[in-house]
Amino acid sequence: MLETFLQFLFSGITAGAIYALVALGFTLIYNASHVINFAQGEFVMIGGMATVFLADAGWPIWAAAPLAVLLAVAVGVALERLAIAPAREASTVSLIVITIGASILLRGLAQLVWDRNFHTLAPFSGEEPIRVLGASILPQSLWVLGGSLLAVLALGWFFGRTLLGKAVIATAHNRLAAELMGIETRHVMTLCFALSALLGALGGVLITPITLTSYDAGVMLGLKGFSAAILGGMGSATGAVVGGLLLGVVEAMGAGFLSSAYKDAIAFVLILVVLVAVPRGLMGARGAERV
């Protein structure tokens, strides 16, 4: 019993770490611009697919992966500069449609540039499972956990310790005040899209050896990331991480103990229950709006 439980826990945490990265990407962009970027999952897809195709072309993984992440970052920057910035005045729903258009466009490009098949990537350090208390962990899971942890710590350092990070936070809190203080909020927006693409693509690189990837792999991952961000409370970075892990674990437990066919449904039932109980997510801002 304990073994099975641990087994599900490990796989849940692994998936949850990726959800957390995608959720953090959502949070970053949301805080800087109040845009929900529905192309977030496509960053994950680009990270995975680009690494696969570079590796197939003979590149070593240590070169292919960073290059793939860089490609996603370039796409993120292009998205912000070419589509989001010119539409600053548009309503929330219009902005949502723009990012949906971007995600459709990116999927189309991926089909054209790459293909419509499923692809996998060799695990970074072999496939020999590591035994822990009777359960087994794939070495790749450790890569996922380690990589995600590192990313979260780096992000924390960036926002807590660097001037640029503080400029981003200032912009998120009060755009006008930040501008008056001389912060170029335009660049802050671009930076947030770049960082968010970086996080997503990193997740894509790390998870592909476990889950396979394809041109449309980003759709479900994007949805799960969005769910995790909402679960934690949109705008809260801690909430994004907690929401991601919680979602991954509940999903894995549900799939293992209840019904694997309804794995995805369980995740969404959880979110509905949480939202009905706590309308702003677990760690979202409290308090009613004032009149």
Partner: protein, 312 residues
């Protein structure tokens, strides 16, 4: 007010004229088929526009009601031998009840949280439809018997076109009537400021429920008809991408514009058909066009163009 009433009459007249002329200018049944599909989407979108456009409540799960309509019609006619019209009505009742049941808890949520909840609801429905294989045929879908109205079955595309055109026109008429009634004003009011609407005496929760149920009924009707017309349905019709497509149609055509919903549905149904010949580029073009329109005409096609026309 007067001007607006005339615009509404003129719009309904123009819609009738277009619907009448269309079958004569479309070169062949293939295009008629596209027009029928566009019409069915338009019916769903008119309903969704009441919710998103007028009341300002986003739903990213509306295809669920379309899908339930389609599957209830399919299951009751194919499996239980119900007459299609009765099955269609049963689907309306079921969808109405479901929408009513979830409306209050879900529509308390706002903005992105509401988007998430409706999205989740839609995905859950799509998953159930895909997993209950014995009832629904699973992910591969199920066949649906043809539509029969009082012993008469639409013999071909032309007859189907007629049915869809009439229903579409009625759907638009009802929506426009509602929009200018006190209920419609209450919806627009709660869209702008819930607290001000409530202070003016609008029961916000009740109006949100009402419009949610109405929009679910529109989608249900479109879904049931689609099932019979296509003769085959799959759970993908209830899925997330389908929901996104419906929202996109509404926003593209123009929020809070009944005719905008029709135009958006027509364009987004026809576009993929036009690009189908360059299959490789279809999704790219679709994505690029969506982004382009929303960047350059953020209010959507019909309101933006109406403004341009008004300025001249």
């Amino acid at each position: 007010m007067i001007r607006r009433r005339e615009a509404r009459r003129g719009g309904l007249g123009a819609l009738a004229a277009v619907l009448l002329v269309l079958p004569f200018v479309l070169p062949n049944t293939y295009y008629l088929n596209v027009a029928i599909l566009a019409g069915l989407n338009a019916i769903a979108c008119i309903g969704l526009n009441l919710l998103i456009g007028y009341a300002g409540q986003i739903s990213l799960g509306h295809a669920a009601f379309f899908g339930i309509g389609a599957y209830v019609s399919a299951i009751l006619t194919a499996g239980q031998g119900w007459p299609p019209v009765l099955a269609l009505l049963a689907a309306l009742v079921l969808n109405g009840a479901l929408a009513f049941a979830v409306a209050r808890p879900i529509l308390r949520l706002r903005g992105h949280y509401l988007a998430m909840a409706t999205l989740g609801l839609g995905i859950i429905v799509a998953i159930v439809l895909a997993q209950e294989v014995r009832l629904t045929g699973g992910p591969d879908g199920m066949p649906v018997p043809p539509l029969v109205l009082l012993g008469w079955s639409p013999p071909g595309e032309a007859a189907w076109y007629g049915i869809v055109a009439v229903l579409l026109w009625i759907a638009a008429w009802l929506s426009l009537n509602l929009a200018r009634s006190p209920i419609g004003r209450a919806l627009a009011a709660l869209n702008a400021s819930e607290i001000a609407a409530a202070t003016a005496g609008v029961d916000v929760a009740r109006h949100k429920s009402l419009v949610f149920v109405l929009s679910a009924l529109y989608a249900s009707l479109a879904g049931s008809l689609f099932a019979h017309y296509a003769g085959f349905i799959t759970p993908a019709k209830a899925g997330f991408l389908q929901s996104v497509e419906l929202v996109t149609m509404v926003v593209l055509g123009g929020m809070a514009s009944t005719f905008g919903a029709v135009v958006g549905a027509a364009i987004l149904t026809a576009l993929p058909q036009i690009f189908a010949t360059f299959h490789e580029y279809e999704t790219i073009a679709l994505g690029a066009i969506l982004m382009g329109i929303m960047i350059f005409l953020p209010r959507g096609l019909v309101p933006s163009l109406a403004r341009l026309a008004g300025r001249r």
